[in-house]
């Protein structure tokens, strides 16, 4: 039996929406518990770091260009480049590196 594509899409959309919107609408106050406050403070940095490595190395055609993008991204961000510039630097070095690597 094959499900209806539009029902599938609806199920995907509704499930995704509920996951995202419930905490945002239900938690309207500042959490005062010290553990939870610290936990939530660290979550963004940890989750972005976890998602970045090693994924960046697998995202490119060659793992070497991914590694170069990692180094360039860390260094440019460390020295205060903004979001857009760091991003452009990463894309450019991958493009340039793969002219030689791939």
């Amino acid at each position: 039996m094959r499900g209806n594509v539009y029902v599938y899409i609806l199920v995907m959309a509704v499930t995704s929406y509920l996951i995202r919107v419930l905490p945002l609408t239900l938690i309207r106050k500042h959490i005062r518990n010290r553990f939870l406050q610290s936990f939530l403070y660290y979550v963004p940095y940890v989750t972005l770091a976890v998602m970045t490595f090693p994924a960046i190395v697998h995202a490119t055609q060659s793992p070497v260009s991914g590694l170069i993008a990692l180094v360039v991204g860390v260094v440019t961000a460390w020295f205060g480049f903004d979001l857009f510039k760091v991003s452009v630097c990463c894309c450019s070095v991958v493009f340039l590196a793969e002219l030689f690597l791939v």
Binding site: I9, L40, P44, Y45, V50
Partner: protein, 252 residues
Amino acid sequence: MKSTPSPYALRLPENRAWLKKGVKDGIPIGLGYFAVSFSLGIIAKQAGLTPFQGFLTSATVNASAGQYVGFVLMAECATYLEMALAILVANGRYLLMSTALSQKMSPSLSIWHRLLIGNFIVDEYFGIAIAQPGYLNPNYYYGAILFASPLWAIGTALGVIAGNLMPARLVSAFSVALYGMFFAVFIPPARKERTILILVIVSFFLSWAAGVVPFLRDIAEGTRTIILTVLISAAAAVLFPRKIYHEEESEA
């Protein structure tokens, strides 16, 4: 008779400035989205979707890994319940992000803004929103959405139509745009705060380790991200508890 304007009304110049800043920060997101959604469109095509259905999925679901899983399940003719559970697992991290973001918003932010922003909680917007000082100005979020989200949906449709035409070189280069943004979000605080620097290094290491250790590496990537995020952040909260902060000190 004038009613008091909403604090985030676009009539106020500072809100227009936030909207513009959002559009600007949305540009790298949009470019990365375009490349990723293009390849997502190829998967959608394999699952038998039309360009319009691909567009509709991306416009309503807004989740790369979640949509990927969804397309695969459609191709396998899964039940609707299986679909809902798979999406729950693949997108579970948004529950954490939404909770963290709830602490970044003014408690008085209206339900309408929350309902709207909630629909667009994704790794990238979350990342740039968290990097802003103080309470989140929703216009900043909307600016990024206005630029990047249409590209996400259009890219998917184009991927269904002409998936194999985009040069692999460009896809490869654009695919690191998202990570570039993440660096800009977590590296500057890591430079300022020793604790965050340690956490970033530990996260890199454990994330890599979880991908190679037997058993752990078989867990789906989305689930691994949740488990690692919860474990590492909880350990950090115990080892390095922060000073309780009070309502006013929001510009950390």
